[in-house]
């Protein structure tokens, strides 16, 4: 009896080879992690790290309670931040709409030359963060809100352009054919067949990007591009942590508000 028992094959989820491969994969991941950890912490000064809990307590003690009357000098920077986000989004839209039409497979005038160029511009804009754009522009244009607006605009081009050209490619071909059948010109086809189909998506994307831009423009001041980030930078450099905590609260409030507005608007449109 016991002989047959021993010969009954036990069901396993994976074959021995697959188990070995899985185990090897996990081992490689752990080894890579350890190696990366060693590389990363090579230049870490551990004394600071061990000191961190005490430093955190100290910082918290200085940051609470926030210095409430500092709010007077935050109103204008906040207005600047809103303007950077809104005007930057507008600039992004103005640049992104033609790019999206050039990049979409069904509307591009030349598939060989213009489409790859438009796609490259969209990818390049997307892979560089707005803070890096701001860093470049501040060194070119000088500090101020203009550099912030252009930085936000250049970063938004990739986002809006990508989502919009995907929306254009997904439009219903039948409507385009129907308008073409009336003898419409290229411009009329765009205006009457494609634009009405992508318009709701377009408004949705723009408001969504505006919401993201509010967050991003709050920190652009760290590199000198205007807005409430300038105040943050100034307060931090004089170690006025009770002002810093108030600024963070204001930023948090603005972000929550803009998220609420954007959710409402997108809900109403779509």
């Amino acid at each position: 009896m016991s002989v047959t028992d021993a010969q009954t094959p036990i069901w396993r989820h994976r074959t021995p080879k697959a188990r070995l491969a899985l185990w090897g994969g996990w081992l490689a991941c752990v080894a890579l992690f350890v190696w990366c950890w060693e590389m990363m912490t090579q230049r870490t000064i551990w004394a600071f790290v061990y000191d961190a809990p005490r430093a955190a307590g100290d910082l918290l003690g200085r940051a609470v309670p926030p210095k409430w009357d500092y709010i007077d000098s935050l109103i204008w920077p906040l207005w600047d931040t809103m303007n950077i986000a809104t005007l930057g989004t507008l600039l992004g839209i103005i640049l992104a709409v033609p790019l999206a039409f050039l990049a979409a497979n069904n509307t591009t005038p030349s598939r060989l030359v213009l489409r790859p160029i438009a796609l490259f511009l969209i990818v390049a804009s997307r892979s560089i963060n707005s803070l890096i754009w701001a860093l470049l522009l501040v060194s070119i244009l000088g500090p101020g809100i203009l550099a912030g607006i252009i930085a936000i605009g250049l970063r938004s081009v990739g986002f809006i352009g990508k989502l919009l050209y995907e929306a254009i490619e997904e439009t219903d071909v039948k409507q385009v054919e129907a308008v073409t059948a009336t003898g419409a010109s290229q411009a009329q086809i765009l205006n009457y067949a494609i634009v009405p189909q992508v318009l709701p998506t377009f408004y949705g994307i723009s408001v969504f990007r505006w919401d993201i831009n509010i967050r991003e423009s709050a920190i652009l001041g760290l590199v000198g591009a205007g807005g409430i980030g300038l105040q943050l930078q100034a307060s931090m450099s004089v170690l006025a942590w009770n002002q810093v905590s108030l600024i963070l609260l204001v930023i948090l409030g603005t972000v929550v508000l803009s998220e609420w507005v954007s959710a409402k608007v997108r809900h109403a449109i779509i």
């Binding site: 070119i140 244009l141 101020g144 590199v223």
Partner: protein, 269 residues
């Protein structure tokens, strides 16, 4: 008799978004007033802009003829820090976010745990990476370790939220079948939940790896190590050809990461 109803002879395109005429005009006016106010606050120092144009030319020249060699040591250190920081922080962030994601799923966690985990996720998501990085740099000193902590913290909110939503969407029948065998909570998670959410968790982790690399290029600007610090130094020295080289490397790595993670995710599905 003769004055029959006159029909319009020309077709007018119906308004697409706002139906009421009053609101259309009011919104347009409001937008114009806002634009005028906002544009009037933009102060441009034209003398400074003209001066900057020569710099812009040098920057474009530097971008077209990037200099990879003269600062290659700094660039290599920066890239190395960014990549190792990205990988370790994604691993640690995902490992921490798994229990938090389990706790933040309404269908398998008791209510107090659910509330605690959801608030951890909300805190992590509402603060921006750069702001967290500033604090971690102040606490843990300059360098990649602060960046590692920042990215891990940001990863917790991202993966935790999406994982919790995914767990809430699982097929309840499979979980019920496991429960019916008399399984305890750990077995339920292991056999009823984990097989359903694993492919998506791997996809999300790869996506976050991609995001963490982009962010690692940014948080270096506030002192948290990595390629961003190198870029900041290069721009501070007005070495635009080195800055151009760094930006090209960032774009190349981001594109590579995007395509390979897209490919991997399709392969894993």
């Amino acid at each position: 008799m003769s004055d029959a109803t006159t029909y319009p002879t020309r077709w007018r395109k119906p308004p697409m978004m706002v139906k009421s005429r009053f609101w259309r005009i009011a919104l347009t006016l409001g937008a114009i007033v806002y634009l005028a106010l906002a544009l009037s606050t933009v102060e441009v120092n034209w003398a400074r802009v003209v001066e900057g144009m020569s710099r812009a030319q040098r920057f474009i020249a530097g971008f077209l003829q990037p200099d990879f060699t003269s600062r290659s040591r700094d660039i290599w250190i920066g890239i190395g820090e960014s990549l190792t920081m990205t990988f370790t922080s994604t691993v640690v962030g995902v490992l921490i976010s798994i229990p938090i994601g389990l706790g933040a799923a309404r269908n398998i966690a008791p209510r107090p745990v659910y509330l605690v985990c959801r608030s951890i996720i909300a805190i992590s998501r509402s603060l921006q990476e750069v702001i967290i990085a500033i604090f971690f740099v102040a606490l843990f000193g300059f360098g990649a370790f602060a960046g590692f902590l920042t990215l891990s913290f940001a990863t917790i909110g991202f993966i935790g939220k999406l994982l919790a939503e995914d767990i809430e969407d699982i097929d309840e029948k499979q979980a019920e079948a496991i429960r019916a065998t008399g399984a305890n909570w750990v077995q339920l998670v292991n056999y009823g939940v984990q097989p359903q959410v694993m492919p998506r968790l791997i996809g999300l982790s790869l996506y976050r790896l991609d995001i963490n690399f982009r962010e690692s290029a940014v948080i270096g600007i506030v002192g948290a190590g990595g390629i961003g610090g190198t870029l900041n130094t290069a721009l501070g020295r007005y070495e635009y050809d080195t800055a151009g080289a760094i930006l090209l490397i960032i774009i190349a790595i981001v594109m590579l990461a995007e395509y390979s993670s897209g490919y991997l995710r399709r392969f894993l599905k």
